[in-house]
């Protein structure tokens, strides 16, 4: 049930507190086919979070348009976990479900390494654990569209690696149309079908890199070769 999506932002400006304006996005056009997996890479402050927020319908104050089926379920992992501190891990995940009684979160918690944490409150979790809960929450609704805003930062490399595999696996299983913002080029090369490079603020699309090899066949050498290639072609944007 994955849904195709399009973002066309002609212009997005923020009004600052002291009356000045910040132009965050100008002329950003991006299409994602149903069931595709796209990574967005761009410098800090270039407007990635802004674009995701607009796509999710959380910000309607912009020039442009969004194409996304109304009934599409959107699972979103914000840059910060944004859990309800007064609800347990379990209740935080159940909160977003229409029929929480029909849902057994145990397998999901197991895969995310949260089985022990189900009855804890978010204030008792490390940031890394809280991020995992946020991921669990987004996956629990079996989303048609999955938006991930730097989901693996502040996790240790082993955990991050495990979660990357998990996200790829879930993506394979349910095929949500996935957009993932990241600063980590290696991560993007490991899991994405396509990498979109964004310019500094006001941001727009600079280039798209297609990665045709299936994820499980991408080894260290492949990732490193691709990265070197990208650094060569877009030295300012890719580190």
């Amino acid at each position: 049930m994955s849904a195709p999506l399009e973002i066309h932002i002609a212009r997005k400006t923020y009004r600052g507190a002291e009356g000045g304006t910040v132009e965050a996005v100008r002329g950003l056009d991006l299409k994602a086919a149903a069931g595709s997996l796209t990574a967005l890479i761009g410098p800090s402050g270039c407007g990635k979070t802004t674009s995701l927020r607009i796509l999710a319908g959380l910000d309607t104050d912009f020039e442009g348009r969004i194409v996304l089926a109304k009934e599409a379920r959107v699972g979103i992992v914000f840059q910060e976990p944004r859990l309800l501190p007064w609800r347990t891990v379990d209740d935080n995940v159940r909160l977003v479900l229409d029929k929480p009684d029909l849902f057994d979160p145990a397998p999901l918690f197991e895969e995310l390494g949260l089985a022990e944490m189900r009855n804890r409150f978010p204030t008792e979790l490390s940031l890394g654990l809280a991020r995992r809960v946020a991921i669990a929450r987004a996956l629990a609704i079996e989303p048609d569209v999955l938006l991930l805003d730097e989901p693996f930062t502040s996790l240790d490399e082993t955990t991050a690696q495990r979660l990357r595999h998990l996200v790829v696996e879930i993506w394979r299983r349910y095929r949500p149309t996935t957009l993932m913002v990241t600063h980590n080029v290696r991560e993007a090369i490991q899991i994405a079908e396509r990498i979109v490079l964004l310019a500094p603020r006001p941001s727009h699309v600079v280039a798209e890199v297609m990665l045709d090899l299936p994820q499980e066949e991408r080894d260290e050498a492949y990732v490193e070769a691709k990265r070197t290639e990208m650094v060569r072609d877009w030295p300012g944007l890719v580190a």
Partner: protein, 253 residues
């Protein structure tokens, strides 16, 4: 736990010291109108047995409860709207300041003059006295709401029930608790004035009557009974509620 025990010991000790001082003052002191504790206790027992104390206490408590609920419900709604919407705030801010600074007595007298010496006027006047404090506190809470959580609720398309009970009210809870606390004590003080001025039952009415008879022992007996009930409500209802609501906060000791 040990700390808790120590705290209740200290509370008990201070009560005992107070009673001892009172007893000594009444028996050995040179105060003309200070009845002894046992005298006051006797009156309490008598008045309870005759049914007079429970009757008047009941009347007062009903007024406290109704006025309190009214003020909390209205104040929460108005305070929330003022905190969220600038236009509502600028429209009502002037009236809020007026209400905040209007002496309780003025509101009570005007309510009786305009609406008659009836129950509605009495309870309404009390609620109106409490209302601005609730509004101010809840408005502060509404301004402090976390926009990130609001976005989360929108993104996951939570229904209004979840938004209210899972997202909104838990954020307002400390503000609700604060205004409930200060509210209850304010309301019962004002209820007594309302009863004194224009009702024919309730603790305030009784106090006025005993005052005219210069019966200080009865005045203290009624006042103490009422304080005891309010204290019980605080300890048995309010505190456990607050404890429950704060379960999720990290214990830092």
């Amino acid at each position: 736990m040990a700390k808790n025990g120590l705290k209740s010991h200290a509370a008990l000790l201070s009560a005992v010291v107070f009673l001892a001082l009172w007893w000594m003052g009444a028996h050995w002191g040179n105060f003309r109108h200070l009845p002894a504790p046992e005298e006051v206790l006797m009156i309490m027992v008598e008045e309870t047995a005759s049914g007079r104390l429970p009757y008047h206490l009941g009347a007062t408590l009903t007024r406290v409860a109704v006025a309190f609920m009214l003020a909390m419900l209205l104040g929460t709604a108005i305070g929330f709207l003022m905190g969220r919407f600038r236009t509502v705030n600028s429209a009502l801010d002037l009236w809020l300041v007026v209400l905040l600074n209007l002496p309780a007595l003025v509101i009570i007298i005007l309510a009786y003059v305009w609406f008659g010496l009836n129950e509605t006027a009495a309870v309404g006047a009390v609620a109106l006295n409490k209302l601005p404090n609730v509004i101010v506190t809840i408005r502060e809470g509404a301004r402090a709401l976390d926009p990130d959580l609001d976005q989360m609720a929108k993104a996951f398309r939570l229904n209004w029930r979840k938004r209210l009970f899972d997202v909104l009210l838990p954020q307002l809870q400390p503000y609700l608790a604060a205004s409930a606390r200060s509210g209850l004590s304010l309301v019962w003080k004002i209820v007594l004035v309302v009863e004194l001025l224009g009702r024919s039952n309730g603790i305030g009415f009784q106090l006025n009557m005993f005052f005219q008879l210069f019966d200080v022992a009865s005045i203290i007996a009624y006042a103490l009974s009422f304080v005891a009930v309010m204290l019980a409500i605080e300890v048995i209802v309010l505190q456990p509620l607050e404890l429950r609501a704060n379960r999720w906060r990290v214990r830092t000791t």
